[in-house]
Amino acid sequence: MTDPVVLTDVLFLLFSVTAIVFSLLVVVMKNPIHSSISLVLSFLPIAAIYVLFHAPFVAVIQILVYAGAIMVLFTFVIMMVDLSEKEYTLHKGKIYKLLSFLIMGGFLLMVPYMVTRFLPETISEPKESVVLSHFTSKKEAHEFGSTKNIGKLIFGKPVINDPVQANDNTLKSMQIVSFELASILIMVAIVGAMILARTRKKEER
């Protein structure tokens, strides 16, 4: 068995290279649908990197929300906009259909598995530690990114104890301001979407 630290290093390199390659493909691909699928694929290694950093919750969220929901929406929008143009439609062979069913089925099976597997209460102690300077202990590094900690991050209690100010409570509830501001940001974005996307007819009434 190789040294665990080296193993994580290799995995990290592998995943980051894949992420970079797929992100490049997003830009390089001519067909927008291919681009958006590359974008989905680039999210997966990033989620894997989160797992390497002992943040399984963020990883699950990454796959569920970004790869699962947002990207599908993206692809739908592109398809709706460009449906008329032949060159932008996907291949329609049987193999492709089968493949897409397999992928979708796998995804559907994976979701409940990952949710049950990574529920914060069931997380087991990590076997190895990732070398990250900000965490003083394995446990801390492990807890970073779990649901419990995201709650703490927002509503108080220091999350990351800096070695310099280990007993300093000033970090308490530091992020509540940005959390509340983010809700206003979303509010503004919704109002903006309403203003900009309202149908023309109503506008010209």
Binding site: M174, V177, S178, L181, L185, G192, L196, R198
Partner: protein
């Protein structure tokens, strides 16, 4: 949450509450009264915010750290916020009645202005990367939408899209910079980052941290519209509805300067190579030259004001350089004074431009203002005065603002920069006076029908006129307020 904290975040609470209320007005008040109701409500909200900010500034004796250092209520932040709120107040007065011409729902427009102001205030008092970034986005997103609020106008749509795409681009730089800084220091708070960057233990990560700071600077420079990242300014200013342009040119710029200043004063000591300073010097010189010379050849008034706004950014950068050269006790009063004056002059000029627009058509070219001084004597007088002030003619506040900046630069021995500044300011007189000439240019074969303008334009331009005149003659009052 104790009473000090509550007092510290009172402006944020007022703006949030009123912003949401104004949004709801449409649902509960019938259509014909809705506009007036929303207007009065948002006006009251902004005035309440202004009063609360003033009382905080008056009773201010020590910097107040809130929420574990996420917010810092200090003198600089409060002074910037007051300038911003003053600008927002004037923009609100201007938008009354006018607003339904560019957007069918007044409540939405007002609430976006309020939320943007909220983002700006949070930005000026933010003290860690997270709060800073989120409040910057609250401001930016609201302004992106405001730029495109007039959906019937293709130009407005185009400007909003350009602003959004370029703004997102600059945000990417900013985020990458924040990520680098966090990677190098493991800290989010501004003061903690500074300590970490200066500490010996962190030396191996020093260069990564500096790289992050440079990327963050790129984001800031985009927001203030200084030289290498200024191309969006004229396009966006031209396309957006005039009222939104006035808001962008004054409030957004002031907020961006507030955070730039906080960032520079916190971090520039960490950069031992002096790269940030020399880069900033080059940017200042090029911004002053570029802005003024490009403004010379414009035929569209809004583009002209945009380019001259770039030039004014250059002057304020010069004042920042002067303040930075004495880090022990930096004197930022010239910066604040100039921003206050610039806000007043610019909103005033836009008040006249909007007031002079007829039948939904916005004033755009020089021909549109030909003979305005005869059509409406008072309006012409105000307009001429504002452009004299922008040019920096003595007895106006614009002159005093420039005077204090150049004085600060010379006393800090930045002679070359001061000379370039003064020379470019002389160049600027040409294009500002060109507008004044057109104001009083006679048309050969047309009689001037005198026309009345609505009270809110007159009120806004009269208020700014009084303030600009007052600050031009008694600048010490402005200084005392901001010191």
């Amino acid at each position: 949450m104790n009473i000090t904290t509550l007092n510290g975040i009172l402006p944020i609470l007022i703006l949030t509450g009123v912003g949401l209320l104004v949004l709801l007005v449409e649902a509960f008040i019938e259509r014909d009264r809705e506009r007036r109701f929303a207007f009065i409500l948002s006006l009251a909200g902004i005035i309440a915010t202004l009063v609360s900010l003033f009382s905080q500034l008056v009773h201010h004796d020590a910097d107040l750290l809130l929420f574990g250092g996420a917010l810092i209520v200090d003198h600089t932040g409060l002074a910037f916020s007051i300038i911003i709120c003053l600008g927002a107040l004037l923009v609100l007065i201007l938008s009354h009645r006018h607003v339904t011409r560019i957007h069918r729902n007044a409540g939405e427009f007002y609430s976006l202005i309020l939320f943007a102001t909220l983002g700006m205030h949070a930005l000026t008092i933010s003290n860690d990367m997270m709060t800073f970034f989120v409040s910057l986005e609250v401001m930016s997103v609201a302004v992106y939408i405001l730029a495109g609020v007039n959906r019937k106008s293709l130009k407005s749509n185009e400007s909003a899209l350009k602003y959004l795409i370029l703004g997102a681009f600059s945000t990417a730089f900013l985020l990458l910079g924040i990520a680098f800084v966090y990677g190098a220091t493991g800290q989010m708070g501004f003061m903690e980052i500074k300590e970490a960057l200066l500490s010996e233990a962190n030396a191996p990560f020093q260069s990564v941290g500096i790289l992050g700071l440079i990327l963050i600077m790129v984001g800031f420079i985009f927001k203030i519209g200084a030289f290498p990242f200024q191309q969006w300014v004229p396009d966006v200013y031209e396309g957006a509805p005039s009222i939104v342009t006035a808001f962008m040119a004054t409030c957004v710029k002031t907020a961006a300067f507030a955070i730039l200043l906080r960032g520079l004063f916190t971090f520039f000591q960490a950069d031992e190579s002096g790269f940030l300073m020399s880069a900033l010097t080059v940017i200042t010189v090029l911004t002053m030259i570029f802005g003024n010379f490009m403004a010379l050849i414009q035929s569209n008034i809004k583009r002209l004001i945009a380019y001259s706004g770039i030039a004014h950014t250059g002057y304020i950068l010069l004042a920042i350089l002067a303040a930075l050269s004495d880090p022990a006790k930096p004197d930022i009063t010239p910066i604040l004074f100039y921003l206050l004056v610039y806000t007043l002059m610019t909103v005033g000029a836009f008040a006249v431009l909007i007031g002079a627009s007829r039948g939904g058509e916005e004033v755009e070219t020089f021909e549109d203002i030909r003979g305005l001084g005869y059509k409406h004597k008072l309006l012409g007088l105000f307009m001429a005065f504002f452009f004299f002030s922008l040019a920096g003619i003595p007895s106006t506040a614009g002159f005093m603002g420039k005077f204090f900046i150049f004085k600060a630069a010379i006393s800090k021995e930045l002679y070359a920069l001061a000379v370039i500044g003064i020379l470019t300011a002389v160049v600027s007189v040409y294009y500002y006076l060109k507008i004044v000439v057109y104001l009083y240019l006679k048309e050969e074969n047309r009689r001037y029908e005198k026309y009345s303008i609505q009270w809110n334009y007159l009120l806004a331009s009269f208020l700014t006129f009084l303030l600009v005149l007052f600050l031009g003659i008694f600048p010490q009052f402005g200084f005392k307020l901001l010191k």
